[in-house]
Symmetry: C2
Subunit: 245 residues, 2 copies
Amino acid sequence: MYNYKLLIQYDGGRYKGWQRLGNGENTIQGKIEYVLSELIGEPTEIIGCSRTDAGVHALTQVANFKTSKEFSGNDIMKYLNHYLPQDISVIEVATVSEDFHARYHAKEKTYLYRIWNREYTNPFMRKYSMHIEDKLDITLMEEAASYFIGAHDFTAYTNAKTKKKSMVREIYSIKIHEEEGFINIRIRGNAFLYNMVRRMVGTLIEVGLGKCEPNEIPKIIEAKQRNQTGDMAQACGLYLENIQY
Amino acid sequence: MYNYKLLIQYDGGRYKGWQRLGNGENTIQGKIEYVLSELIGEPTEIIGCSRTDAGVHALTQVANFKTSKEFSGNDIMKYLNHYLPQDISVIEVATVSEDFHARYHAKEKTYLYRIWNREYTNPFMRKYSMHIEDKLDITLMEEAASYFIGAHDFTAYTNAKTKKKSMVREIYSIKIHEEEGFINIRIRGNAFLYNMVRRMVGTLIEVGLGKCEPNEIPKIIEAKQRNQTGDMAQACGLYLENIQY
């Protein structure tokens, strides 16, 4: 069997997320598998590293698929980019060893959250960032972010449907960077629960607006209650940015 | 009379350009005048510096309007941004002397043209740049651009409908900058004819693709024939970037 690794970029705006759902549901995995199966000549499944949520974007999603047929990476890339919609792009294709698994082998992921923090909207980024009119206090947000670092049970930061053996995830770093009206929040961790990044950013926004004290975060995490994290930040501001193997 | 100067930003994607047309036509001037007239309490006309074409964007459009009523700049800005669609933003309002005229007093304009020059599309910039798959030769384009500098009769670089007393315009500089897959072309001049920037960029693209020699440009300009400039570059890659007074 040949195993191909794909780097994929997408504007998640009009999709119901990465993961294939039923027939005819508009998902990124579904779109790619449809075109890929045409190329391979038989139904072909693709394994994505992260099941990004409806409306969430990817600067780099990693995926892999196996087939008994040999193709050049360039031919796969050209075919997919020719037939995929313009909001999904395959930016790299590599042949990898047969045991490579895009999800199981991921060691570290980075998510980027973009906030547009001016009074007026940004006409060009209105679908690619969350607009918050009131000035956010970055210093408070950085203090709050420091409480997320390390391994914690993040039950409070996921939704009620999530059932995993362990709710412990480790956050390696959170960097908040202000740049020409944007506040970019980069969260790096070993793995993330469903909705976890958007709920963490939701709390950081509450802190930045002065509605929550930074030192309340350890209490929210410890309480493991899902209704204390503030509103979940909008999907359109979130990007899967990078995956380390 | 009070005279207010506005700096305006817009995503021109879904508009028929800046200039107000008949009733119900979707134009940027029309949208702003509608909301502004509500604020002022009487029909109020706004003068824009540049009549950007259908689909063309503005990072900074300058406009002004006069009224006998006094408002704070901040109140005007808040009202407009509250009622305007999200793809039009007023980013600054200033009170100016009664003789200021956004169009007549402009001394210099800068247009930015963005080309995405990779094989695959850019999912996030597909509506904000022109996609050219084949690699462009920047050195040739820079050589070609140098022939546009100076005062020339740009009849060849406008469309047949354009009737102006003089077709002479002066180009001060053209800078071509490559950056992470984008080729950004900045054209600075005293004024521009209808479609002139997109036709100039069209020629630069032909040169970059090797379909036209740089030294053919003086001949194209001199011939004053409109069918020799190559295809007009797409509207979605063009931004009115800056206006000097």
